[in-house]
Symmetry: C2
Subunit: 265 residues, 2 copies
DNA sequence: ACATCTATATCGCCC
DNA sequence: GGGCGATGTAGATGT
């Protein structure tokens, strides 16, 4: 059962009791109300009175959401201890503390509209397609996608402090370092590749090629690639996705069917 | 008024009606239920049946939260169009589509435990202390914190494609570029500074110093700074915070008072 | 525990 | 609108 309790317009004493009970049971809590928020830790912030939604998850993660936008205005990731108390004339406080790094989040409610307490049963597996590591594996298994005659030898080869995605030899036995980006390649990606190539060069006595693989490139990245004498190649994510899907169990096609139908029933 | 409607254990037809009404009014919606989720866009993902909480914000942002953790398992940032429909034998679908980049998020509910519809009034200003730009301003106004005799001349000076945080002259009239990080300085930060210095050097005929300012540095960053003949200096955030607070209206001290008291009333 | 890197990063600023 | 850089980035991974 997902929702255990719904409490509308409670006075702050009832709210305190309900929140304490929910926390003790490690249930998920949603508290909607008017509040002030203070944060102090790696940085510090302050937010004046307003209506917001506070979520305390079953692992103690705390999120404070305003009416708009993807990001919570304040939050605390899961490793927290949570205290709640009531001080007359002030309101109901919820304080979430994290140790590493040491951070304090305090929410001071002056008024509460709604409290929901629940337990969520959710054991389903989350499957993500075409992550960067998956692209790397596909290129490794289909090296001609990079260039004819490429012989991949090692994934995630440690170089200096980092690891280059693919190391291998081209048809002339030049050493090749391949850096892969799943999104548009930018100057940072070029610097990363440059760092690998320079680091690697210092250890060997042969020609070393660096290739940046991405679905597209910013002008700044292309300019820098030329300046640093590095190479690049576009990858076709759609093509890769098809290669990826043919190699394993077919995913549900409900979404694609909808998109192809263009209707909503 | 924040909460306009609470609907417990609705059948899917009532749920459809309520959600459609809420969307039409641009209200915030919370839907708690059992659902499948498909996403396709920059990447693609699939999530099997489980109990989750879906938030549709007043700007159309959609968040799907599982019982644990800071991050939503699936989401759609604000610029979306949202459709909802019911197909018998399947369930209630909510589809959020974004155009740039083109992305689809479909949530298929088989069962709904709770729907909340509300309007949040929240005009309060969010104030963040000691962001990077604030550190920059403090250094600019207190140049001796960098080194005695430093004369800052320009903030956010455009160099190439980016902008260096502070440009100025040292006591020997050398040109100085200062890059500031409010977190531990890493190799990326050094590359960023290096890029500014090289770019700037090509335009002038004098000595150019590059200084990385951060509260601490990774070993990799220190190594790279030496190799690239760049400088670094530690900044004391605690000291800066005091300078920052003395220079403007005093922030609420409720949180600090609590921390000093060590009690919860 | 620490350093490094990825992300459907998101968000905001400036050209 | 695209590029670029900051973020209390969070979270995963390797050492």
């Amino acid at each position: 059962m997902a929702v255990a309790k719904v409490l509308e317009n409670p006075d702050l004493e009832s709210a305190l009791r309900t929140i304490k009970e929910g926390l003790a049971r490690n249930h998920l809590l949603i508290v909607i109300g008017e509040c002030y928020i203070d944060y102090e830790g790696r940085s510090a912030s302050k937010l004046g009175l307003g209506e917001r939604m506070v979520i305390v998850k079953q692992d103690g993660a705390v999120l404070v959401h305003r009416p708009k936008g993807y990001s919570p205005v304040n939050w605390q990731p899961s490793t927290t201890t949570i205290e709640v108390w009531l001080r007359s004339g002030e309101g109901l406080s919820l304080m979430a503390v994290r140790n590493r790094p040491r951070e304090y989040l305090r929410i001071l409610f002056t008024r509460i509209f709604l409290i929901i307490e629940g337990v969520f049963h959710d054991a389903a597996e989350f499957v993500m397609y075409l992550s960067e590591s998956e692209i790397r594996d596909i290129i490794f298994d289909n090296p001609d996608l990079l260039e004819p005659g490429f012989k991949p030898l090692e994934k995630e080869k440690r170089i200096g402090q980092g690891a280059v995605d693919i190391f291998g030899l081209d048809s002339n036995n030049n050493h090749v370092l391949v850096e892969i980006k799943r999104v548009m390649g930018d100057r940072d990606a070029v610097f990363q590749l440059y760092n690998y190539v320079e680091n690697y060069k210092s250890g060997v006595n042969s020609n070393v090629r660096g290739i940046l693989l991405a679905p597209s490139f910013t002008p700044g990245a292309l300019e820098l690639l030329a300046k640093l004498k590095l190479e690049f190649k576009e990858i076709d994510l759609k093509k890769l996705r098809m290669l990826s899907q043919s190699g394993r169990k077919k995913p549900d096609s409900t979404l694609l069917e909808y998109m192809n139908d263009g209707r909503k029933g």
